[in-house]
Structure formats: C-alpha cells, structure tokens
Symmetry: C2
Subunit: 769 residues, 2 copies
C-alpha cells in the first residue's frame, strides 16, 4: 500500500539543501528589468503623463504607460474558462490603467538594462491626475452620490445574491416570520472579519521572452495553464502562442491563483523585440497590488427551539471587493453557502450577499475562499446562542450538524461521509474539555484562562459551481520506473509526494519508482486547472487513478504478449506475477523489452482526462486553550488541537504538516493580522512584514493535529479536501476561548490588544481611568 | 498540402537573430567547471598519479582520477539498445582510463570553482606511465607481436566479416574463380580513404546537476534518449534516474551520435554533492578525443564481360578503428554492403571486412557511415574499368545499376523506388556532359580541365540491421493549434520544420498552427532513438503520420458529438466541415469546447509508437567540372551539380540546403582534409581549425542541387533518406574529373597539392628536376 504511508516529501531534500529551483533561480542574467509605476491617488484618472525624462535616462530601454496598452479589459482570477459568456469572469482591468481605483494602481512601466535604472526612471515620470473622494468601506461606496469606481456599476455593487430555501413548516411563509416567532429563542448578531494578506515567502516574480514567434513566461504561480489563457486574453492573441513554465514556488495560499503581473510581463517583452524581461514584485507591491482575504461583515439571525434545535437562520453578508473584481461574487457566495451548510435549519434559511467595489487593494482567493470569514460568524453565533440559552456548546452543535447524506438544495453537493461528530469528541477528549470548562468557570483576577472550540465543513473542489477537469500522463522508463506528468501543481503543500503515492498505488509499484515531473510547462504538461479549492488530491487524484490503472493494464497486456499461457497477471514487488504468485518477469526487463523488442517495440505511456462531476464535504474542528492578560489585552494560546476528517489520508505526516501550517495561519488571523489604511488617501499603512504583524514561533503553542479517517466513497482513494480546511476554525475557537475566559464576546477580528482593551473596558473588566 | 511546400525554417528567425538557445546559453553561472587531463603517451598504462598539489590549489573542489572511477566498462555509440547480449555495443572504456590507448586519453578530471583554476590544476598532476610502442596503422597493429590494445582482442582485430553471395553461374564455384576467368575483363585495384573530422561549429558541451536524487544533464547531442541510457550504463544506475535535455545544437554530423563526455559529466556531479558541473570540450579536445571518419582501405577486384556487364566483384576492406570500438564493426560492414549494393554482380560477390584497433583517436559515425569511403572505392573502380575497357563511364554505370525491386540477399532491404537513371541523365544534361567530355579530350599544357561523375545509393534508417522505433505526441491547444512533441531531434538539418509540415499534413491544418517542442527532455519527450542514419523523416515521419491521423480522428469524433446529425466530417481551412463542405465549427471553438465543456471536458492528445519494419534506398549522383594546375597540384572546382532521388520532398528549399551542405563537406573530403599524426608519439599534429584545412567559401563554386522526385511507397509521405547522401559522391566525382583532366588516377584521399604533385610526377606530367 503506497497510499497511507508517511513517506518523506519527494522534494524535501532539495528544498532543505537549497537545490530546488524557483523562478528567479532560472532567470538568465543579465536580463532586462521592469518596474511598475503606481498611482499616488486611490480614486480618479490619469489625465496626462510626461515620460520624456525617464525615456532619456541612459539604460532605459522603453517607458510604457496606460496610454500605450492594448484597449482590452481582461479578468484575472484563476477560474476555469467558461464557454458561456454569462459565467465568464469579470473583465475590469487593462494591463495598465488610466482609471485609478486603488492607491498604488499600475499606471506605467519601465524596462531598463538594470533594476536601479528602472526604479530611477520611475521617479522621473510626471503624472497629472483627476481625483475623486476615497471610498474604503462598502457603506461609503454604496452611499448615494458616491463616484462609480467602474462605470458598469453605478452603485458600486458588483453583484448581489438572495437565496431562500423552501420553508418546511406550514405555519410560516418566510424565514423572517420564523425569526420573529415568539415560539422560538431568537438571536441576532453582527460579526466582522478584517482584510489580511497571504504573506507567502516568495513574492510574485516572472520573466518573459519571445522565441519562435511565441511568448514564453516563467512564473511563480499555482495555475500555469490558466496563466497561459489569461495572458492570451489580455494581449488578444491565441492561447497557443503562449508558453508558461511553473517551477517550485515559495507559497501561494490563493494569491498565486490569480493572474496578476504575468500579462504585463508578457506584453513588455513584445514591446522590446522579444528580449527577456524580468518583473520582480516587491513585498510592498505584493501587499498593495496583489490580493488579500476579503473583509466581510455578517448580520445574522437565528431561531432555536427550546431543545436547542436550529429552526431558521438568516445572514446578510457584505464583502468589500476593493478596486477590482478579482474572483467577483464567488467568494461571498461561497461564504454564505458555507454559513448555511454546516448546520441544519429545520424550517428554512435566507442568505443575502453583496460584493461591493471600494478603493481598497482588491481581495481575492485566500486559503478558505470565504469560509474562514463565515466560519467566524457561524461559530461565534453558535457559541453565543449556546451561552444565551445556557446549552452546552458542543452538545448544541452536535444536535444541529450537517448529517450524512445531506444534499445541498441549491448545488446538490452531497455529504458522502462525515466524521465530524467523532472529530469533536476526539478533540474534546484530547484537550480535556469537560475538566477545563469546569475549572475555568469562575475566575477572577487580571489573568484568566479559557477553552473554546469551533467546527467547520468544507467542500472539495468547485463542482458543480464550476468545471472540474484534470489530465494525467504516465511514461514508462527503461528501468521499470515511471514518469508522472501532470498539470497539477506542487505549491509547497506536498502535492508532488501524494500524487506520486497515488500513481504508485494505482500501478502497483513503490512510490520510489515514480519520478514526478514537478515543473509544469504548458507546452507539454497535461492540462489541469491547478492548485486551488483543495481540489487536486481529489480531482487530479481521480485522473491519476484512472490513467494509472490504464497504464497498469498496458504493462500487463505487454506481459501477456510475452507469456501467452500465463493467467491472472498482476504486479507485485516490481515483478509481473501470475495467478499462482510466480514471478514471470521484472518490470525492468518488461520495460526494456517493450522499448527494444525487435518483434514489438512500444513506448508505453498513458494519458487521459478525468472530467470530475462529484464533490464531497471535509470536516473538522479546532480546540484552543488560552490565557488572557486582561489589562494588557494580550491573548496567549496555550494549547491548540485541530481534528480533521479529510477522508482517507494519502500521507499522514504530510497531512499533519498541512494542518500545522493552517493552524499557524489561523492564529495570525485571530490575533494580530490586519491591513490598515489611511482613510483620507486610501494608502496602505502597514504593507510590509515589519508593520504587518504575523505571528512568530514565539506566539505559537505546540500544535496538535489529529485525524478521524473516513473512507469517502466519492474520493479516488477515499480522500477529500485537506489543503485549506486547517485554517478555518482557528479564529472562532480562540475567540470562543477568550469569551470562556473573560465573558466578553469580541465580534470582530483580529483580537488585537488594542481592541481587547477596548472590549474589556466596555465589558467592565478594566476600570475607566 | 503542407508537405511539399518550401516554407521557411520554423527555427530560422531565432537562429539568425541569436535568440535560439544552445546548451551553453542555458548553463547557470557561476557554475563548477570541469577539465580533463589527457595522457601524453598513446599506448600504455598509468602506473601512478600524484594529485596532491592539484587538490591543494585554492579553488579546486575535487580531483578525480582513473583510479577513482567505477569499475564499469561501457559502450559509447548511439545505437538503439539491444535486448540480445550478442548485439550489444562493445563496452571497452571506463569513465577515465588507466589503460591508455590514444595520445590524449582521458586519465583524470578536475572540478574547480572556475575554468582557469581547473586548467591550472591539471598542470599540477604528476603521472607515471608504462609505455608501449605506438600503433597507428592496421598493418602495425595486426603484425605479429604487436601489443594488444584491448586484452580481449590479442590480435587487435575487433571483428572480421566474410560474406559471399550464392554463385548464379554453374561454371564457377567461387567468386575468385570468376575473378580469375579469362572469359572476362579482369580488374584489380586499391583505394584508400583518410581520417577526417566532423568540425561542427559547436564543440561538445554539457552541464549536469542532481535534483530529487536524480542526475540532470543538459547537452549538445543528436540522441538525448540514448545519452540517458549510456549514462545509466556507465554509472551503473537505473536509466530512469537520469534526465537528459537537448537544446538547439550547433551541428553534429554523427559525432554527437555518440555518448562521449556526458557520462563523465554526470559522474562528476555525483562526486561534488550534486552541485552543477559544466564540462566544455575545446576544439583541440574535440579533434583528439571525440570521433572522426574511419580511414578504410579497399582492395577490390572485378570481372566484366565484353558488353560491360559486371560479373563478379570482391572487396577486402580494412578499417582503422583507433583506440576504442565506438560503433564497432558496423561502419565497415555498412561500407562493404554499400560497395556491393549499388551495382549488380551477375554471378557473385565476395566481401571481407576487418575492424582493427590502433592507437589513433577512435573514428565513429560521420555523415554517410562508411558509404563515402566505399563510394570512393566503387566509383573510382567503375571509372577505371570504363577507362580501361574504353566504355562510356555513364553508359557502363547505367548498365549495371541496382534495379527497381532489388532485394539485398543478406538483409532483405528492397529497392521500392528508384530515380537514379533519371538523376544521372538530368545531371549529365545540366553539366553538358557530352560536350565537355569531347572538349577535354586532348588537352596539353600545365592547366587542364576535366569533368567527372559518381553515383551512390543509400538506405534509409537502420532496419533490419537494428531496431527502428519512434514515438510522437500531439497536444491540442485551446486556440485550435497543436503542440508537436517528439524525441526526434533538430540538429540543424531542418528536422523541426519538416516534422511540423508532416504533422500539419496528417491533421489537415496549416503548418503555422503546429508548434513544435524543439528541445527534448527525456523526462517527458516521447521516445525516439534520435538523429542518425538519415532516419528521422522516414521513421519518425511514420510515427508523426500515424499519431497525426489518430489525433485528427479524435478531433472529428468530438465534433461528431457536437453535431450528431452531420456526416462525412473533415477538416478544412481551420474548420470542421460536413460532406457538403459546410463549416460546422472552427477548430478554435471545437478546442475550447472540448477543454471547458460542462458536459464532456477532454484534453485531446494523441501519442503512439511506430515500430518501423521497412527500409528503402535513396539515390543520387554528383557531376564535377574541375581545373587542375598540374605544377601546383592545385584542383579548382569550377562547377558542381548534385542530383538526388530522395523520394518526395517534404520541403524542397530545405532539401536543397541540405544538399549544398553535403557538397561542401564532400569538397573538403576530396581535396584538403586529413588528420595527421606524429608516427613516433601518435600525437595528432593538426587538431585545430588553423592547421586542419576545411574548404572556405573561396574554395567553392556555385553549388547546384537538383532532384528527381519519386514517390516511395514505403515512405510516410513518399519520402526517403536525404540527410547524409549529399556528401557521398562528391570525392569520387572530383577524383574522376581530375583523371579526365590529366589522365592520372589518384587512388587515395585527399587530392592535396602535395599528393597530386607526387602523382603527376609519377605519371610523367611533371618532369624530374
């Protein structure tokens, strides 16, 4: 069994020894360097630009402005293309923009012989603007008379959605009636999440050149095939005219599921005769000009019967989309859907969601895709209801959890397996829930402890909201080993390792005999939409299994030619054996024979597509124990345990590592991280790793990752989503632990000292000076 | 029709603008530099080596010697592997050799931080030798008491072959009886060819590093998949553990059909912790340590009836193999086979061939693979017989040519098509043969003119002597264009262009819509043995056609899903049309739909192997008009016309360019090129481009390439060999023209001034001083 083994990462040794090649390692030197000029206003127009001094600077090859770019609006998100126009992404930006929508918008670019010259030239460009008031919050942007940020949306609302389930109780006609009924306990609340950045180690970097009349781009991306397509759209050329290569990447977390600077880089090379141009985005630019996680506010209501059964809920989510549509309405739509799915409303549910343009840097995909936000809302709400009704918060949740066999009424996604109840029980036992809740009941004094938890559900991939398709290719080597060739990407998550294990399992060989082609080259790699939506082990995994079995059959068919008398051939321990378990031929000899036979030479390969029309839910929970220094507003996480049902684990050690990373990201989301803006200018105030506070190892307790393994019938190897989930329940678990410790319910993120001191003061724990 | 069009080379623009990437362009810098220590004796043993001073030099990373290398003997030639031990290549060298067999043998290597340090370190290595007498000629090596150069061959004869056809005339029992019969005109002669070098522009260069536990090698080669295999053999590791990448190369001509320094480079990286090591072979090393064309002597005899019908011939060829087996006996075997095949012996034929080890740099494959040598012998002989019998040399040849339908009695290769007679007639007419022969009949004076010609036949690929197998892969792009993915290599000959035309023809799309993946990466490229034996347009062409038709059918099948009512679907002008010629869908829309359809998403590709079990003969002839300055011994080529039957031409302009290159190479072979050795030490005396005389543009007349297009029924598109043939008939045509001008038959190559003055003196044209 290759699946289920905790083998070391196939890329591990290279990465720890510095041998692994990232985009910038592959860039030829010397190379032309590009730099981008960013606007110094957040809302307005570029009226005129004087580039004469910049163009005259020695070493400057070319200065290009928003007046020079192709008149093509293009979309940036890493979605599969849709053949239906209505389902295509919002095309709302050009390569460089005259209409400035964020502070720091891309308005010009310089290509120079070296990076210093390029940056010096930027300073020589004179810009004349027409300026409008800055709109940073949805309320400002939606207000009467606010300037439309995109002319197509005069009210600055990119999209609105209103979804009502059917009402299952004849006494009511609407959810609102249930939420007003005196028969039930009624709850209302508002929860808000903040804008945070992915903070991957490797900033976006790419280089591009022309060869054979085509544009070649090497870039740090999660989605090479989609990058190819979006460059084609942005430049208005055939997608086959573009080649994208993806080396190892230093993290993405969804930010590299968007096609940000590759189209500009591709266009720049076409403007300098095809010479190689490098575009290296700084950390500050990464904060300001790439993506982030949406701030979303949730106004929620719930009706609960006296036994603690959820009867109905409503949720109005407003998502701050910043200056560009990016993934459009998808993320807040996912958010309200996730809010609804985790718990069962016995009578009905009503969701409303808005996506609103503002002048903030545009948020996009970030690990969890709207679910960390809704999970904060729903898990705070569940805690607050339980507290108000004096129910045990775990028992209350268990009573209302999504059951096995649940089918979403809107998208049909089915709960094919669930271990969530067992996850909660396992986590509670591991942290000593009962004992801690009892111990922390009646604390006094400035430093108090508390324990909290939160659950989540998460779907696997994007079907049926969008297309799920993946291909794989296997190529036999002469020594009986195999090349595994995918369009799916290793982005630090361990994809290459689990893909190799899956291929080995399907073929029946050791994982050591599978050599994965890690870098995707869109000229030759099978097609796959890439790393996002926790889809690859599931969707690509199905393709690997399908093609692996076909490849295995080809090996056995060739063996059958050599041993026509043999029966029930199978592969075992690098040999083809017959039904009696006798070794007929080693795979090495079989391979060499197939290559070089004078009777029948064939180079055995298999390639195919799996169009995936299934989905399933992963589950899990987080338990956190905290110590709160009330006067300092300081939360110390003492212990944290995540318990996950991600189906069958392909590689338990890598799964645990993935959970650790997610928990760490969740701690930052809960306690310290927030992008802050100057309300006047719209300028990002803390767009660097000094002022933007990520948690360090000093802010972490030991992290514990536990699993409840289910065998999902829809998963290729019983597996389901694992990539994004670990981050989801951490912030509400910490918030609920702080509530448990202090009795103060903090309803906005992050739980920073500044905010906690305010909240504790309001709550009477800190006296007014 | 895409086949038959003279479209520009697909790599042309990049190559003339300097944008095309060759191996060294891709090497990361800084990089560890390797240098090889060469022996200063030609025959003997390394008894001891002191590397202490070299190892102590700052900047030296590692010094490795013939005492350190794996104890593995491996073969170097670019043949397909054979599963039968008896047919495997001779494994007669190690990575570095204690047993020194040529002057300059590889005995140690230094890896240093820079190239200057590496070369300085070489000078610090002290070597102690045991030395044997130097054996440069087969006669010396075969002499009684000569030191065995390889212990396995005490008589220094690597191989001997003796082939007799059956005798078709009851009056004789052996060919020798025919050759003694007074019934026939009897002829005896001896012809000798010299050792020459390929002199490709780009010397061998490679770099290698380790990643994911595997060895990666980028190298200038004709045969990336074979390089992979030989590295595996030389290092004793699984072939799947090696990845070879072949970029554009600056010529090969057969020298890069051998695996020369890649195994050493691969091993060196394993000895320095997998760091990237570059091994750049100098021009001098290329002359001394890589391959060359075999010097072969031919002792021939013929019996001819009075009507000019060849009755029988015999040929004893002795091939000087130098210090290493390289391609072993194959080349002289091919040589005597080619000698026999071109003309028909009505009673019988007897060939004997010897391959003899000497202490010369080892010859190997070079354009023509033994045929330029035998062609010099056979075409001189035919001329000399005609002259002696006072027959018209063209009429004499026409009477005896290989006929259509000829089947070789030993290997079964069949003449499926022949335009040789038409080639000869076309060439004779173009040069004005009759008129010139009459005009040059009775010349006197020091400067005389002459006209000569020679014919040849050449098989296409290596079947059935060896395996012929090739794979191809086609990948649909979203814009309806196609990636063509091959293991076959562009080596400057225009392969990429004609492969693209063939794929376009098979699919039914314009060649502009085929994007060839030029660089071979053995991790992902389909398998192909590579560029040699003029095989690729024939053998790989069959694979392209097979896979192209399968790919086309997949496109049509998908279209049929979309248009179930439509009939007789075909592809025309980038559209799928029905039987009535109506356009149903563009290929672009078809492709996009196939990728992104929510009903049936499939990424259309096709991949497959063609095991080629056919062969056929290409033909041609050369006509040369020369002016000979007798006192100076100087030959000036006034006009030269090659006429070729290579079947149907895929790209006539590229075919003509290929012929021009071959003619140029033939002029050097005929007149000026020869590797010269110090008989005492065995040291090569002219191993550089100053002392080794290649012809320059000043030595060339205008070259004319003409064709007689046949439609070979065995060729994928009616085509047959073209790569090597143009060089073959040039030297005998020039020699025969000199004979025509002066009456002096020069029977050894080259026709250098030194030699001609001697021959003219012997012939009485120059008086003794």
């Amino acid at each position: 069994m290759e699946v289920g083994r905790s083998i070391p990462r196939v890329d591990g040794a290279d990465k720890v020894t510095g041998r692994a090649k990232y985009t910038d390692d592959l860039c030829p030197r010397p190379v032309l360097e590009a730099a981008v000029l960013h606007s110094t206003i957040a809302n307005g127009w570029v009226k005129a630009m004087d580039i004469s001094a910049a163009q005259a600077l020695p070493g400057v090859v070319k200065v290009l402005t928003c007046f020079d770019v192709p008149d093509i609006q293009y979309p940036t998100p890493g979605h599969p293309w849709s053949v239906e126009k209505a389902h295509q992404d919002v095309a709302d930006r050009k390569l460089l923009n005259r209409r400035v929508r964020i502070y720091g918008d891309d308005i010009a670019a310089v290509v120079a012989e070296d990076a210093i010259t390029a940056r010096r030239a930027l300073k020589l460009i004179r810009v004349e603007y027409e300026e409008y008031p800055v709109l940073l919050e949805p309320e400002q942007a939606m207000a009467e008379g606010a300037t439309p940020i995109h002319a197509e949306h005069p009210d600055n609302i990119l999209a609105k959605m209103d979804l009502r389930t059917s009402i299952s109780d004849d006494r009511f006609e609407t959810v609102e009636q249930v939420l007003d009924s005196p028969d039930f306990f009624q709850f209302r609340g508002r929860y808000e999440t903040q804008q945070v950045q992915h903070c991957h180690i490797e900033n976006p970097v790419s280089f591009a050149w022309m060869e054979a009349g085509r544009i070649h781009v090497v870039t740090s991306t999660q989605i090479p095939h989609i990058v190819r397509r979006v460059i084609g759209q942005a430049l208005g050329i055939g997608w086959g005219k573009i080649r994208v290569v993806k080396p190892y990447i230093g993290g993405g977390f969804g930010n590299k599921q968007e096609v940000l600077y590759e189209p500009l880089n591709a266009w720049l090379t076409t403007q300098v005769g095809g010479r190689c141009v490098r575009l290296d985005i700084s950390r500050e630019e990464t904060f300001q000009n790439t993506r982030s996680r949406h701030p979303i506010s949730f106004d929620v209501a719930a009706a609960v019967d006296r036994d603690g059964n959820l009867m109905a809920r409503s949720c109005t989510a407003i998502s701050n989309q910043g200056g560009y549509a990016s993934h459009g309405h998808s993320i807040v739509a996912n958010s309200v859907t996730g809010f609804r799915q985790l718990y069962l409303d016995r009578i009905g549910h009503h969701s409303t969601a808005y996506t609103v343009y503002t002048n903030r840097p545009a948020p996009g995909a970030m690990r969890g895709y709207g679910i960390p936000q809704c999970n904060f809302a729903v898990e705070c709400m569940m805690e607050d209801i339980a507290r108000a009704m004096e129910l045990d918060p775990i028992a209350f949740r268990l009573k209302n959890l999504m059951p096995l066999g649940y089918v979403d009424p809107f998208n049909g996604i089915t709960c094919h397996s669930t271990g969530l109840k067992e996850c909660i029980q396992k986590g509670a036992q591991a942290i000593g829930w009962e004992e801690l809740r009892a111990r922390y009941k009646d604390q006094t004094g400035p430093v108090r402890r508390g324990v909290g938890m939160a659950c989540f559900s998460y779907k696997t991939g994007v079907y049926p909201i969008s297309l799920e398709t993946a291909s794989a290719r296997l190529v036999l080597n002469q020594d009986g080993t195999v090349q595994l060739h995918l369009g799916a990407t290793e982005i630090g998550q361990g994809g290459d390792t689990v893909f190799s294990q899956m291929a080995a399992e399907a073929i029946g060989i050791p994982t050591e005999d599978v050599h994965i082609v890690s870098f995707q080259d869109t000229d030759t790699a099978p097609f796959d939409t890439g790393a996002y939506a926790s889809r690859q082990t599931y969707v690509t995994g199905k393709a690997i299994k399908k093609v692996g079995l076909e490849f295995r059959q080809k090996l056995l068919d060739y063996a059958a030619e050599l041993f026509p008398e043999a029966k029930d051939l199978t592969i075992s321990e690098r040999f083809v054996t017959n039904g009696a378990g006798e070794r007929l031929i080693s795979l090495e000899e079989l391979a060499t024979t197939a290559f070089y036979s004078l009777e029948h030479s064939v180079h055995i390969t298999a390639e195919g597509t799996n169009h995936c029309k299934e989905n399933t839910f992963a589950f899990g929970c987080c338990f956190a124990e905290v110590e709160v220094d009330i006067p300092l507003g300081k939360v110390k996480v003492l212990r944290m345990i995540n318990v996950h049902d991600s189906g069958r684990l392909i590689n338990p050690a890598l799964a645990a590592a993935q959970v650790h990373g997610g928990m760490s990201m969740g701690i930052g989301y809960a306690l310290t991280e927030e992008m802050k803006f100057d309300p006047k200018t719209g300028r990002l105030l803390n767009g660097n790793l000094l002022d933007y506070k990520m948690p360090t190892s000093m802010d972490h307790p030991d992290l514990t990752a536990l699993f409840v393994e289910t065998d999902d019938p829809s998963g290729p190897f019983g597996n389901k989503a694992l990539g994004e989930p670990p981050v989801i329940p951490v912030a509400p678990a910490i918030r609920n632990a702080v509530l448990n410790a202090t009795g103060v319910a903090v309803n906005t993120l992050p739980l920073s000292p500044q905010k906690l001191v305010e909240e504790f003061t309001k709550g009477g724990l800190i006296g007014h000076v």
